[in-house]
Homo-oligomer: 104 residues x 2
């Protein structure tokens, strides 16, 4: 799916790490929420509340998932899951375009 | 308006200047198009096709508009218009969140 239809978009960006990570909140008719975001090269640690699916649209990164000691290499077209109430770290190699789905 | 409702959002980001500028394309039911974008500090020159209204949601910049020799200082809450088929340059002082409306 290249386009989300019949959605609401929050105008103001979500901004993290001085702007190196920014995203837009997308609300769906069924009440679910996703963010479409962009990350510049660097290392960032995030905390989850709900479980998340991180779909990488474009870019290259390594991710250290909760409970793991091994970095996973992820590239555009791949995704990774993060459990609720957990911490994960990404090391962005090339500017990365992503879609994050929050699962209830 | 803090949220756009009943719109379509193109999933893949528009990426410029190595990712220092990125945006998402928002399509409205009436056929009009806006982008919600983010610019990191730096100087960027853009070319317009249609006339544009650049609404600055947050951030600080100077803009050199077509035909002008004087930079205008713009901050969050302000906007500026750019004619069609023209060039404008922005000097982003602090990470800037914007909404660009394309006029037909």
């Amino acid at each position: 799916m290249s386009e989300f239809n019949n959605v609401s978009v929050v105008k103001k960006a979500n901004v993290y790490f001085g702007g190196n990570v920014s995203s837009r909140t997308i609300r769906f008719a069924d009440g679910s929420v996703k963010t479409l975001g962009f990350m510049l090269p660097g290392e960032y640690t995030f905390n989850t509340a709900d479980p998340e699916i991180m779909e990488i649209i474009d870019g290259d990164l390594d991710v250290l998932l909760p409970g793991s000691e091994n970095w996973l290499t992820i590239t555009g077209g791949q995704s990774f899951d993060v459990p609720a109430n957990a911490k994960f770290t990404v090391n962005i190699k090339t500017a990365t375009d992503y879609c994050c789905s929050f699962l209830k």
